[in-house]
């Protein structure tokens, strides 16, 4: 899953905000507020296939009121099919129901996978190539019309039209039957021929061989086993979209038809989203959501410092205001010492990487030296992170809470926060690469980015490198990072679990086949035959074995090749007004659990 996305900062003030972190779980708002990072924090690995609605509304919930949500970021799109960022995913969870869903479990303080529109978490055939979901009875759209299995099938078909609806998750292209051939319901034969890399067996239209419906049943056929499909079915991609309402696919995001407890009232992209109660939603069919407040008012591209001050001031509307940005360092201290009840903290399923370009930095000793030279503490603090809260020293690439995760340290003794210039210099000397040029980018218009760059330059110099930062701006940074020909040999970015196993990590960012593709999904240019072979073997394992195998692969890849430096796990610290109740941390996204939130009496 991708980190929160911002629109281009409309004003310099908006650009003051910190780099987006996607974040993680735990930390109750009422009572047991966690003051420190939860070491083995959850990431939503648990499942409960028999959960039944309705979800209990807490006794201190006042019915009604409007919840205000503010953020400096702005979701690029709210089309269910294209929703692939942590923030838009959490927002759409209020509006569109999927086949399965993540529900906050107070007992384990973690997210648990439960059925949503489906009656269970799906039935998989013996060969692992067919999944069947059955829809519940009594599901309705906001206009009162019934939800049909065909509509879910249509939503799935829609997700193959990545030319019309780009930026969404793409696992279906890899795992579903004909995923590489079917191009979605929209393209005509003539348009198909115009697509890049056209092959004669490509097809489009309503007739897709990978999805079948029979009454209330949806059957999905796969090309190769996809043991984590039940997790993937919680993405808004697997909602229901009636084909008759989707006459103009690119503008469907203006008003996606609601199946959840709230529906769109007003949406101004990049600025504001207003939600109101959907009276057609039946709580008895939904084990995870409550409908306590009357409406939601999301305000995007806001001034974070100002909003946080208002929330901590806790007067009037601010009492029912929530921010899903990581608290600024200056406000975090104030909140944690003076108003700990207004702070929601926790872990997140994200890891920040320094992706090392394997084509340009070919000597492994140089890559190891980098991990000793990187000034972890200085760089984190200078970039405005609170160590132990919004940044946690990282060791294994998979973040804590991931199923099958193997804890290891590589290079030996590197606990994820140790800077040792002497070791770095020794390694560089051994490799004959003293003064090796390191090119990484930073944003000149974000003060935190500039000070972070200064700290890194100092650290790398001390470690015997010759740092050559490449200047960029907020508007151009993303483009630079995903440009295969950019003059960089380090790319600084992160990755978040789509579901808590290594299966949503390595095939997505370290698959040799991705090298050179547009958008640069494999930012390390990591292409090794034995690594690709191992990955393909793990993909063919059964779910019970594959999770552990990914954990081992993590250690093997890093010790054998070291294509990245782990520059820390992400964490979250979000602020909310004193009357906001039920705000937990969705540890699968690092967002507030909107679906359980209410206004206190």
């Amino acid at each position: 899953m991708r980190l929160k996305k911002t629109v281009v900062a409309a004003s310099a003030v908006a650009a003051l905000a910190l780099v987006a972190a996607c974040g993680g779980g735990g930390g109750g708002s009422a009572g047991n507020t966690q003051q420190s990072y939860k070491g083995g924090g959850g990431a939503g690995a648990g499942k409960n296939a028999t959960a039944q609605g309705p979800a209990a509304v807490p006794s201190d919930a006042a019915s009604g009121g409007t919840m205000d949500v503010v953020t400096w970021a702005a979701p690029g799109t709210l089309d269910p099919t294209r929703t692939y960022y942590t923030d838009s995913g959490e927002i759409m969870n209020l509006v569109t129901r999927a086949l399965t869903q993540y529900v906050y479990d107070p007992k384990s303080d973690d997210m648990v996978l439960e059925p949503d529109m489906a009656t269970d978490l799906g039935q998989v055939s013996k060969d692992g190539l067919t999944w069947t979901f059955t829809l519940k009875d009594g599901l309705k759209y906001e206009d009162g019309s019934p939800v049909k299995a065909e509509d879910v099938a249509y939503a799935i078909k829609r997700s193959f039209a990545i030319d019309t609806l780009p930026d969404g998750p793409t696992y279906q292209l890899t795992f579903f039957k004909d995923g590489d051939l079917y191009k979605g319901p929209f393209a005509s034969a003539a348009q198909l021929k115009k697509m890049k890399g056209y092959k004669s067996d490509w097809y489009s239209g309503d007739d897709y061989k990978g999805v079948e419906t029979d009454g209330n049943k949806i059957t999905i056929h796969l090309a190769k086993p996809f043991p984590d499909l039940d997790y993937y079915a919680s993405f808004p991609v697997f909602t229901a979209i009636p084909q008759s309402k989707d006459t103009d696919p690119t503008s469907y995001e203006q008003h996606p038809l609601a199946t959840g407890p709230y529906k769109f009232a007003d949406y101004k992209p990049g600025a504001e989203l207003k939600l109101v109660k959907n009276d057609q939603w039946d709580p008895n069919t939904d084990p995870g959501r409550i409908q306590s407040v009357d409406g939601w008012d999301f305000k995007f591209s806001q001034n974070q410092a100002k909003d946080e001050n208002a929330i901590l001031g806790d007067k009037g509307n601010a009492q029912t205001t929530v921010s899903y940005d990581n608290a600024l360092a200056q406000n975090y201290k104030r909140a944690s010492t003076q108003a700990p009840d207004q702070l929601t903290q926790g872990t997140s399923p994200c890891t920040y990487f320094w992706y090392i370009d394997m084509k340009k930095i070919t000597d492994k000793r140089v890559r190891e030296a980098l991990s000793w030279a990187y000034p972890y503490q200085d760089a984190w603090k200078a970039s405005g992170y609170i160590i132990g809260v919004t940044r946690q020293p990282g060791t294994s690439l998979l973040p804590p809470g991931t199923a099958g995760r193997v804890e290891y340290q590589y290079p030996e003794g590197q606990d994820g926060q140790t800077t040792d210039p002497a070791k770095s210099k020794a390694l560089l000397k051994e490799a004959g690469a003293l003064g090796f040029k390191i090119k990484f980018s930073y944003k000149t218009d974000v003060p935190e980015s500039v000070s972070g760059k200064d700290a890194i330059v100092k650290g790398l110099k001390a470690g015997g490198f010759d740092p050559q930062p490449v200047a960029s701006t907020s508007a151009k940074e993303r483009e630079l990072q995903s440009d295969n020909n950019a003059p960089l040999n380090i790319r600084s970015s992160g990755w978040c679990s789509d579901w808590p196993t290594g299966g949503s990590w390595f095939p997505a960012i370290f698959d040799g086949a991705l090298v050179g593709q547009a958008g640069m999904p494999n930012k390390s240019n990591f292409k090794e035959a034995d690594a690709d072979k191992k990955q393909s073997e793990i993909l063919h394992m059964t779910p019970d074995k594959s999770a552990a195998a990914w954990g081992e692969f993590d250690k093997w890849m890093q010790t054998t090749y070291m294509p990245v430096v782990n520059v820390g796990y992400a964490g979250v610290a979000m602020l909310h007004g004193s009357k906001v109740g039920g705000m937990y941390n969705d540890s699968t996204k690092g967002m507030p659990t909107f679906s359980t939130m209410y206004i206190k009496k």
């Binding site: 410092a305 201290k333 003060p447 930062p469």
Partner: protein, 333 residues
Amino acid sequence: MTVSDAMLEASTPDLTPGGAEPDKEIAGRSPMRIAFDRLKSDKIAIACTVIVLVFVVIAIFAPLLCDLFGVKLRDGGSKNLDQFNYPVIGPPDHPFTWKAPLGIQPNTGYDLLAEWLYGARTSLEVASITTVVATVLGVTIGLLAGFSRGWLDRVITFITDFFLSLPFIMVALAVSPMIVQRYAQNQTKLDRAQFISLILILSCFGWMTLARLIRGEVISLREREFIQAARVIGAPTRRILFKELLPNLVAPIVVAVSLGLPAYITAEAGLAYLGIGLTGRPSWGQTINKAVDWFNSYPLYLYAPVVGILLLVVALNLLGDAIRDAVDPKTRR
């Protein structure tokens, strides 16, 4: 003697015919001399000059002053910070310490006094170079426009109006990312390019008022007898421009300079605050940009650069006013 000299002298009582006492020596005083004497007796002007001089000394000797206080520029890092990224010594949580007289910058752990001293240097460097460039541009263009009749005057007037109509902030916003893009890979060049482009942008938008003023003065002067006389005896245009006209324009130029300096200091800080100024070196505007969000918990962080700018700008402005009064022959004291 030029006309304005005569006017000035005529306004001094010493020249009243027959009124001079025999034993008092009559001394001729140049207009600049008179202005200087007036300035010397102006207490505010003296105080402001002292303040400005102190800042100039700070700017010139910033590295030495840092050594004197025992602080280093952009040194320290996370060891100066606690778990919340706040400083471990000095304000806001700890008492004053000479180790960091202006405190430590949160998040980065840099010493703020060093940042402030070097920030003064950046401010004055940018402001003084810009003032010189803008003044030279303004005077040259104004002289040319005023003295040439016909098409050249019209073209120059049009260009002046054109520049006046350009929105300054928009141009700065547009140029800044271009510079970053162009020099992305070389930090030293980028810093220099940002510095030069900042001066160019500021001076490109700073010469017009002076040029108009000079043009007006020249138009009124060029018809006077002494210019006519110079023409009659065949003085070349260059001589008329620089030897006859320019000395008469000293007063407006001095005033423009003294009022331009503080304007450029504010402009530099303003651009840095918007995130489009210099990024490679300390500047007051940048510090203010970062400090605004910390004001609630750490006011000194913001006060230091704000007081710096305030003092310097107010002093320069008052000094500018005093100079204007002093060189203006029409003011009487």
